[in-house]
Structures are given as structure tokens and as C-alpha cells.
């Protein structure tokens, strides 16, 4: 029971964090058709900027200014790089962002060194919010979840209830018509790219103070974020929320379970035979937990490429 509740809680909060990063990615893809490989780099940049700013000023300044800096970088990339190669097709845009991943990672290594930096939350946020089965549950985890929830609500209201959201959705669905109606579509694209980058930066700034902040964080999270947006359906915000929670909960459960294919065979009385096979069959779930999201992504791509909630292929 303890395992069940703690894992669910951790999983949901990790899922919310994944959603914060993937929301921008899926929004950008839905709109511009660009699968931005460098999106997780924005997450890393957010964490490092917030680290520097929290050292110079305080934690909250970092939390607010870091996403803005990341947004500026994002908009610069959209305006001066992506738009330039747009004429050569989506593959070129993809490759360009792919190259940027290396540059960002190496720049971070150059400025901060190839090791984790000590980015910490302030002491007054470091308390236990409640006590679960004798263990204190850190408030900061809940804080991460709350920030993500707040962001989701703001994004949802912005997109569905305001005029800005209407223009953004129009520019996504029918860019030419939106342009003909007098909206500055390239400006909208620029804004969405910046907003997506800022969201990733914000999640980096929030999560970096809890999880390790190191030059590998972009690569580690980046692939999982891809899994999330694919499983949820490229371009679908609601889909990526569901997929984030799914993968978050799954990964927090998988580390604690020692089920294997052999134990599955055991249920139908073939356990001994399966155990004798060894290899993949007896491998416990906890050790292949990193593999399962990719398997899920593969199955979704092959069976239902539109994802859980997507409508386009």
C-alpha cells in the first residue's frame, strides 16, 4: 500500500514535469511541423540560467527571469535560423535543431564544466508537507506539480478562451487563411516558439533545483519527451498530458517491481520452463524500465501513429 501511494504520487508529479517540457514541443510541432530536437536543451538552459541567477539574486528571480532568457534564445533561433532553412523542407529544420543540441550541450560544458552544479532550492521550501507511512514527503515535489498544474490551466485558458488563443489556433489549422484575414502569422509562429521555449525553461528552472542539474540532463529527458509527444499524438496538448502522466506513473512503478516475462508465464503454469530460458525472459521489470517507454513509442508509431489523442498523421 505504501509503495502504491508513494509511487503514484511521485509518478504523477514526474508526469506533470514531463508535460511541462512536452507541452511546448507538441505545440510547436502542431503549428509549424518542426520536431524540435533542441527542445530539451531549452529545459537544460532554464536550469542553468536559474542556477546562475539564484546565485546572483535569489531563487525566485531565477524562476522568473530564466524562462524569459530561454524564450529570447528560442525566438532568436526561430527568427534567424529555422526561418532561413524553412525553404529546404522539414528535414532540414529537424537537422538544424539537431545540430543545436550539440552546441548547447558543449556551451554548457564550457561555461559550467562537465559535472553537476549545485543548484538548490531555498531552505524555507525544504520542508515536509505531510507524513506518509513514517516518511516525510518533501514539499518541493508538490511544488513542482503545482507549477505544472498552474501552467496547464493558464495554457488551456489562454488557448481556448482568449482572442490570442483563437488566432494561435487559427494559424495552426489554416495558416494561409489566417494570413489572408490580416493576422501576422510569422509573428504568431515566433511567439509560439518563444512561449514553448519559455515553458521548457521554466520546467528546467523548477525541476533543476530538485533533480540533478548536469550537462546530460537535456539528452536524458529529451528522448523521454519524444516518447511522450509521440504516444500522446504529435500536436495534441491533451494527449501529451495523458501520455506524460502515463509514462511518469509507469516509470516510478517500474523501478520498484521485479516482475519479468517469466513470472507472466508462471501465471499459466509455465514458470519453470520460462526460467530455464534465461536471457530476456527472466529480466526483471526494474532493470528494463528504461526500455519500456521506447517499446510503447514503437507500438504506438506502428499501430496508431496519430497517438492517443492526435487526429493527423
Amino acid at each position: 500500500m505504501e509503495f502504491l501511494i508513494v509511487s503514484t504520487l511521485n509518478g504523477v508529479i514526474y508526469g506533470m514535469l514531463l508535460f511541462m517540457v512536452s507541452a511546448g514541443l507538441t505545440l510547436i510541432f502542431g503549428m509549424m511541423g518542426v520536431l524540435n530536437f533542441a527542445h530539451a536543451s531549452f529545459y537544460m538552459l532554464g536550469a542553468y540560467f536559474a542556477y546562475t541567477l539564484s546565485g546572483l539574486f535569489n531563487f525566485w528571480v531565477g524562476l522568473i527571469v530564466a524562462p524569459l532568457l530561454v524564450a529570447i534564445i528560442g525566438m532568436f533561433i526561430e527568427r534567424y535560423m529555422l526561418r532561413r532553412v524553412h525553404a529546404h523542407g522539414h528535414a532540414h529544420e529537424l537537422l538544424l535543431t539537431f545540430g543545436l543540441v550539440f552546441i548547447f550541450e558543449e556551451l554548457i560544458k564550457l561555461f559550467y564544466g562537465d559535472f553537476p552544479v549545485n543548484y538548490q532550492r531555498p531552505d524555507y521550501l525544504n520542508f515536509a508537507i505531510f507524513n506518509l507511512f513514517g516518511t516525510d514527503y518533501p514539499f518541493y515535489r508538490v511544488f513542482i506539480g503545482l507549477v505544472a498544474l498552474l501552467m496547464f490551466i493558464v495554457l488551456f485558458v489562454l488557448l481556448t478562451r482568449t482572442r490570442v488563443g483563437m488566432v494561435v489556433r487559427a494559424a495552426e489549422r489554416l495558416p494561409d487563411t489566417a494570413r489572408a484575414l490580416g493576422h501576422n502569422v510569422p509573428m504568431v509562429f515566433l511567439g509560439v516558439f518563444g512561449a514553448g521555449a519559455a515553458l521548457a525553461g521554466l520546467s528546467g528552472a523548477v525541476a533543476g533545483a530538485f533533480f540533478p542539474t548536469n550537462p546530460n540532463m537535456a539528452l536524458e529527458l529529451g528522448v523521454i519527451v519524444f516518447v511522450v509527444v509521440v504516444v500522446g499524438g504529435l500536436g495534441s496538448l491533451a494527449g501529451s498530458l495523458i501520455a506524460s502522466l502515463l509514462i511518469g506513473v509507469f516509470s516510478s512503478f517500474a523501478v520498484g517491481l521485479d516482475w519479468s516475462l517469466a513470472s507472466l508465464f508462471g501465471l499459466i503454469g509455465l514458470g519453470d520452463w520460462a526460467n530455464s530460458l534465461g536471457g530476456l525472459v527472466t529480466m526483471p521489470l526494474s532493470s528494463i524500465s528504461a526500455t519500456v517507454p521506447f517499446l510503447l513509442m514503437l507500438i504506438v508509431l506502428l499501430v496508431r501513429p496519430a497517438g492517443l489523442m492526435g487526429s493527423k498523421n
Binding site: L110, M297, N313
Partner: protein, 429 residues
């Protein structure tokens, strides 16, 4: 065409004659460059000719490597007799099978979705391999020894070099021959218009699988050669880095030309060999080169060279010489400024330097470009600015002039300037 043949033969002769005169370090670097070249050429069969962008080609490279390591172990323990020189055949066979299987699924999708399937497949292997001890030897990986065969001991790097060279030359020759066959033309048609292929009665999915499998097979040969050369392989051969590197090599070289990726792979891997000995930031330079190529010469180095060869009779070379020289000079200035800043930062921001400052209490001068620099002296930071600003200005001027000359030639020549060149020229604006 005749000049191309002469150039290739001359290069080949150089590759045969030169290595014994070089040190082991360079021989080893050449082996890696050759392997990277073959890998890039195999990858380009899929990407450049088949039009399918894969982000997980490390999978087939790795499968080839592990197959060969397993076989080498069997030979080492005397279970199976197998000549060392033919080991890549085994890697090729297994990679071909894996490629056919993976290709069957991957080619059901196209575009971004195809790229994601290949990425997922490679990540699947990469995350599984460190936990699967019997197959991939866990995190430590597997290792073995090269056994003597056909009178060669394969004890020296030089012998391994010649083995690698022969396999790479044969495979690249086969890949080139492939482009001349009807099936090779069909591959190109697949890239240009898949629907038309179907209307013409070809099986598009089947063709894609075959292209994917052949590409995987030659990648497997490259992986095999890597395993033979290193005598070891671990799960990191499946990593995103390996898949990424081949993408970098291919597109810097230019994916639309057969020899582009080969040039790109050789240039970049030798660049890495030279630069990584001097600085930790070699990956940064490689990333910058890649992004610059993507922005200003989307068809890569190969595309630029090809455009010049095609236009060689029409171009006003005499009038172009001055702006080209100016562009080279300005480019060098910008590059110098960038390298200076990066190297300075690398030293000044390093842990060792911080420790030295804490110990002695003063900011010691450091050495870049064989000259000592003071960290807080204004000239130290004025120097790159003085190079960068005029450099960028001159670069713009030079490219504007080059573009004007190319465009003028454009009018005489029915507007038939290759797209790559125009895009290259746009870099100046």
C-alpha cells in the same frame, strides 16, 4: 569523369603508400576515418538516395560489431574456425537480417514518423543492452583477440589498417555500383516521388525494405571493422552519439552526392583526431560547423564542390579570385576570434584554473595561440572583437560580390545555377 577517376586512383595510391610512414596514432585515426566513411556511405544510401532520414543507424552498426565480437570469441576458444579477414561477412549477414526486420516495420511510416521509429528501435537496444549480460556483456561489454589468418598475425595496427582499407574500398565500390543499377535508379525515384513508383507497378514498401536492409548491411560491415580494430564492443555503440555522428558526417559532406558523405566523414573524423588532442571543446566546433553548413550550404561541402565543377567553364574565375581570397581571409579572422574566445573560456573557467587562483590568490596569465594573455587586460578581450567585427563585415562584402558574379553568369547560362550554390551565396546577405 576521367579526372574524377584519376583523382580517386591517386587518393587510393596515397592511402596504400602513406600509412607505413606514419605513426601508430595516425594509422589508428585513418582506420577510424575509413570506418566512418563506410558508415556514412551506407547511411547515405538510405538518407540521400532513398530519402529516408534515420536517427537510429547506430543499431545496425552495433549489431555488426557484436556479431563479430561473438564470432571472434568462438574462434579464440577454438569452437569454430573462421578466417579473421572474412569476419565482416558475418557482421554483414546479421545486420542484413536485422535491417530487413527493422526495415519492414520502420518503412511502414514515412517522414518524421519514420525517423522516430528508427530512433525508438536504436534507443530500445541501447537501453536494453547494458542489462543483457549474455548477449551484450552488460555495461563492460565483450572483448576478444584477433586470431592470425592467411599468414597475417594482425598484431600490428598497420595490418589492421590494410584489412580495413580493403573492406572499405570494396564496400564503397559496391555501393557506387549499386547506384548504377536499375534498382539504384528505382531508389532515387522512391525519394523523388513514391506515389509514382506505385502507379508504375513497383512495390514501394518492398523496395524500401530492401534499401533499408542493404544500408543496414553495409553499416554492419563498418561496425564489424570497428570491432576488429578495437577488439572490444560495449553497449555504447548503440548510443545516440553514434547515430548522431553519422548524421553529422553525412550532412556536412552533402547527402545529395555519392562521395559527399565519404568526404564529410573523413574530414570530420580526422578533424576530431587532431582537435580532440588539443581541446575538450572539439564537439562544440563540430556542432558549429554542422549548423553553419545547414544554414549556408544546405547541400554540404560536396554540394559546393559539385556546383563549382559544373560551372567551371562559365564562371569568371579571374574576377572571382579576389572576392574568394577576401572571403577566405575574413573567414579565417572570424574563425580565429571564435577559437580564441572558446579556448580562453575553456582555460579560465576550468576547475584547475579556479583552484590555482584560490591557491595563489592571483589570476595567472594563460597561453593561447602561443602567446600569453592576462585575464583582466582589456586587450585580451578586445583582440577577438577586433578580429570578429571586421571579419564579419568583410565576409558579407565578399559574399555579396561573389553572389553578384555568380548571378551575372546565371544570365548567360539560362539560369541553370544549381540550387546549392545559390543557397551558399545567400549566406553573405
Amino acid at each position: 569523369m576521367r579526372y574524377a577517376l584519376i583523382a580517386i586512383l591517386a587518393l587510393l595510391a596515397l592511402l596504400i603508400i602513406a600509412p607505413p610512414l606514419l605513426g601508430t596514432g595516425w594509422q589508428y585515426a585513418l582506420i577510424n576515418a575509413l570506418i566512418a566513411a563506410l558508415f556514412a556511405a551506407a547511411f547515405n544510401l538510405l538518407v540521400g538516395q532513398g530519402g529516408m532520414l534515420s536517427f537510429g543507424h547506430a543499431a545496425y552498426f552495433g549489431v555488426g560489431a557484436f556479431t563479430v565480437i561473438h564470432l571472434m570469441q568462438s574462434v579464440e576458444y577454438g569452437d569454430i574456425p573462421f578466417p579473421t579477414v572474412l569476419l565482416p561477412l558475418a557482421g554483414a549477414a546479421v545486420s542484413l537480417l536485422c535491417g530487413a526486420l527493422a526495415g519492414f516495420f520502420a518503412t511502414m511510416r514515412s517522414g518524421v514518423y519514420f525517423a522516430l521509429v528508427t530512433l525508438a528501435l536504436a534507443e530500445l537496444l541501447h537501453s536494453l543492452a547494458p542489462h543483457w549480460d549474455e548477449m551484450f556483456g552488460g555495461e563492460a561489454g565483450l572483448s576478444s583477440m584477433r586470431m592470425p589468418s592467411l599468414g597475417f598475425t594482425f598484431g600490428s595496427t598497420l595490418e589492421v589498417y590494410y584489412l580495413t582499407l580493403s573492406w572499405v574500398v570494396i564496400c564503397i565500390g559496391l555501393l557506387y555500383a549499386y547506384t548504377r543499377t536499375p534498382f539504384g535508379r528505382l531508389t532515387l525515384a522512391l525519394r523523388d516521388n513514391e506515389q509514382r513508383i506505385r502507379f508504375m507497378g513497383f512495390n514501394a514498401h518492398g523496395t524500401k525494405i530492401v534499401v533499408f536492409a542493404i544500408s543496414a548491411m553495409f553499416s554492419g560491415v563498418a561496425g564489424s571493422l570497428m570491432a576488429i580494430s578495437n577488439e572490444t564492443a560495449n553497449y555504447s555503440v548503440f548510443s545516440t552519439q553514434v547515430s548522431a555522428l553519422v548524421v553529422l558526417h553525412t550532412f556536412v559532406g552533402g547527402s545529395t552526392i555519392f562521395f559527399g558523405p565519404i568526404v564529410g566523414a573523413c574530414v570530420l573524423s580526422l578533424f576530431t583526431f587532431v582537435v580532440s588532442g588539443v581541446t575538450h571543446s572539439w564537439m562544440l566546433y563540430q556542432g558549429i560547423i554542422f549548423v553553419l553548413v545547414m544554414l549556408f550550404a544546405p547541400k554540404g561541402i560536396g554540394g559546393v564542390i559539385q556546383a563549382h565543377i559544373e560551372q567551371r567553364h562559365a564562371l569568371p574565375w579571374k574576377r572571382l579570385a579576389a572576392p574568394y581570397a577576401l572571403a577566405t581571409l575574413a573567414g579565417l579572422m572570424v574563425a580565429c576570434a571564435t577559437v580564441f574566445v572558446v579556448q580562453s573560456l575553456e582555460i579560465v573557467l576550468s576547475r584547475e584554473y579556479a583552484a590555482a587562483v584560490a591557491r595563489t590568490g592571483e589570476y595567472a596569465p594563460y597561453t593561447v595561440f602561443a602567446r600569453e594573455w592576462q585575464v583582466f587586460h582589456p586587450f585580451t578581450w578586445l583582440f577577438p572583437v577586433l578580429l570578429l567585427v571586421p571579419g564579419l563585415y568583410l565576409l558579407r562584402r565578399a559574399f555579396a560580390r561573389i553572389k553578384a558574379l555568380w548571378d551575372k553568369d546565371d544570365d548567360d547560362d539560362n539560369g541553370d545555377v544549381p540550387a546549392a550554390t545559390q543557397q551558399l551565396m545567400e549566406g553573405g546577405r
